[in-house]
């Protein structure tokens, strides 16, 4: 491996890494022959797994959000073909729980995923045998995967989330009393975690897009000349692309609904 002369500039940042377009176009998985649709499905399935596991582990939403961003980023460096998505999802939630100061035991993480898998296959509930080889193996796989995620992302694992921006921006727009608008924007934001928008845009732009979508849906007028979001450093072009990506969420495969169904059961 060639030793670069300069210190790597990427490493020393707490800002979210924004990936260049070419990196997002040709992913490692697609280079390995995986279809684009299948990759999208695996991305969404992994994120739904993380969401379900997070609820069962009683983690705050921010931990799930961080885990989902880590998961998405990881698979722009590594291929789904070579690295199991379920193990990676486990490693991401395990790591994100620590990052967001709500650490969970690795045993609980392994067990929760085991539980979700049994639910998906409509098997009766059962606690994993902590003496089994299967458990032992899973555990060491997750620890290895955690280190791979850290290494692959160059330890840039502290994710900035747009949740805070949404609240601040709505305050500036004098809409902070409209709970329906806040809730809708919030939902859009959580849904967009299943896509790659966090690799494309800054948290500020994502916050703007979420507000824009929600306001449009609820028929709430916001200043348009000049567009309000330009104050928050988002451009019209960025917003349009974002809208396109989010619309994809509505048309994805059965896989999510399957997992979503489990999430609903768990949440209820």
């Amino acid at each position: 491996m060639a030793v670069p002369t300069e210190f790597s500039g990427v490493v020393l940042s707490l800002e979210n890494t924004i990936y260049p377009d070419e990196k997002l176009q040709e992913t490692p998985s697609q280079l390995d022959g995986l279809s684009k649709e299948m990759e999208t499905n695996l991305r969404i399935a992994g994120c739904e797994y993380i969401q379900a596991a997070g609820i069962l582990l009683k983690l705050p939403q921010v931990a799930m959000a961080t885990a989902q961003v880590l998961y998405q980023r990881y698979y722009y460096s590594k291929s789904f073909v070579k690295y199991n998505y379920e193990i990676c999802a486990m490693a991401c939630i395990f790591l994100a729980a620590k990052i967001e100061e709500h650490p969970r035991r690795i045993r609980d993480v392994v067990n929760v995923f085991y539980h979700i898998r049994r639910k998906l296959n409509e098997l009766p509930n059962k606690v994993m045998d902590y003496m089994s080889n299967e458990y032992f193996h899973k555990k060491s796989e997750v620890i290895k995967a955690e280190r791979r995620v850290l290494k692959e992302l160059g330890f840039c694992v502290h994710v900035k989330h747009p949740h805070k921006c949404i609240v601040t921006y709505l305050k500036i727009l004098e809409c902070n009393d409209n709970t329906e608008l806040i809730q809708k924007a919030w939902n859009y934001m959580n849904d967009s975690l299943r896509t790659d928008v966090f690799m494309r845009y800054t948290p500020e732009t994502i916050a703007c897009a979420c507000i824009y979508l929600s306001a449009r849906q609820l028929g709430i007028g916001l200043p348009s000349n000049p567009p309000w979001y330009e104050v928050f450093d988002a451009t019209t072009k960025e917003m349009e692309v974002y809208l396109l990506i989010v619309s994809v969420i509505d048309s994805v495969d059965m896989l999510i609904y399957q997992v979503k169904y489990v999430v609903d059961i768990i949440a209820s």
Binding site: S8, E146, R147
Partner: protein, 362 residues
């Protein structure tokens, strides 16, 4: 390995540095002095211990990385990058992660233990100013250091002090009223009374207590309260700072351990009296006295400390430290401990028994 086109070089192999010598060791891992093979620049490599981690990558290291990335200040040690080493399958050695820091020539404990190193009042002022500026910066960024001691203060060849070792640091918020932190932080000799009494809802004041202890060390040359157990440490504090009672520290009876310790009563506060043999400057004495206040609510904070008369009276803080440029050898506590025939062993976190039971209060 690097055949894959999307393997962005986010993290380098530690092989780009050449290890020179070990300069530190502790519960956190090992620290090496090393040199960049190409730029010839010196760095300090801190290895993250992963060997017996059952819970994956240690949360303390994640915190340290996050905090050090967010903090950029002249008086905070700079994290340059993170490197890794690959495990070798033959020796069944696992790979490690290294934090790469700028290299500082000395640590304060090492310097103070060397009788040839002498500081005058204006140099001490300069160093205390650096120390407090660094601390003010981290406190205003809502970070607690939680392990301040002379050995964790690094000194560059140019006489700039830098706070180091954020392995126990963590973020706190003023909004959350009820923290539930562990009170088993800070090396025993620098541990504030509220921590010793089991407080779990502490704040920046614990770092200021340690600052008071470090400041006194500039004159006394060794730690001022070298307890060998929690009880002993509290006794030493009482002997120096007076009895800990609800009169001097109103909320003290709410602390878990207050009733469990049988502490000496009706001791008078003698901080200034006892230290005046060493510290001649009255402003310096006053600042130490304010840092070593029993009640954390009344203890001086880093901002007020920087505005204390100590820094604004003659002689003013020096612009350079003359004796450091003449030192050709690095002074690290770790290296001194090994050289001296009668090593003065300092207690590590939570293992403090080997110390002889003498009561050492200046």
């Amino acid at each position: 390995m690097s055949k894959e086109p999307y393997n962005y070089p986010f993290i380098h192999d530690v092989g780009k540095y050449e290890k020179i010598t070990k300069i530190g060791h502790g519960t956190f891992g090992e620290v090496f002095k090393a040199r960049n093979r190409i730029s010839k620049e010196f760095v300090a490599l801190k290895r993250v211990l992963l060997g017996n981690e059952k819970e994956g990558f240690p949360i303390t290291s994640l915190r340290e990385i996050k905090i050090l990335r967010a903090l950029k200040h002249d008086n905070i040690v700079r994290l340059q990058e993170i490197c890794r080493s690959k495990g070798t399958p033959q020796s069944r050695k696992r790979g490690s992660i290294y934090l790469v820091f700028e290299f500082c020539a000395h640590d304060l404990a090492g310097l103070l233990q060397n009788p040839q190193v002498k500081f005058n009042l204006s140099e001490i002022k300069r160093m205390m100013k650096h120390l407090l500026s660094g601390l003010f910066y981290i406190h205003s960024n809502k970070v607690l250091h939680r392990d301040l001691k002379a050995a964790n203060v690094l000194v560059t060849r140019d006489g700039v002090l830098k706070l180091a070792d954020f392995g126990l640091a963590r973020v706190y918020s003023r909004k959350e009223k009820t923290h539930c932190f562990t009170n088993r932080v800070v090396t025993l000799w620098y541990r504030a009374p509220e921590l010793l009494l089991g407080c779990r809802d502490y704040g920046p004041a614990i770092d200021m207590w340690a600052i008071g202890c470090i400041m006194a060390e500039f004159w006394t040359r060794s730690a001022i309260m070298q307890g060998n157990s929690e009880t002993n440490q509290l006794t030493l504090i009482t002997q120096l700072c007076g009895s800990i009672t609800p009169e001097v520290y109103p909320d003290v009876d709410k602390l878990d351990l207050f009733k469990k310790f049988d502490l000496p009563a009706s001791q008078k506060r003698r901080v200034k009296e006892r230290l005046s043999h060493y510290v001649r400057d009255r402003h310096a004495l006053d600042l130490i006295d304010r840092c070593l206040t029993i009640d954390p609510a009344k203890r001086i904070d880093s901002d007020s400390a920087l505005n204390h008369d100590f820094f604004w009276s003659d002689p003013l803080p020096a612009s350079k430290i003359s004796c450091l440029s003449r030192l050709n050898v690095s002074m690290f506590e770790f290296l001194i401990d090994r050289k001296t025939t009668n090593p003065q062993h300092r207690p590590e976190q939570s293992q403090m028994s080997q110390q002889p039971g003498y009561d050492r209060v200046f």
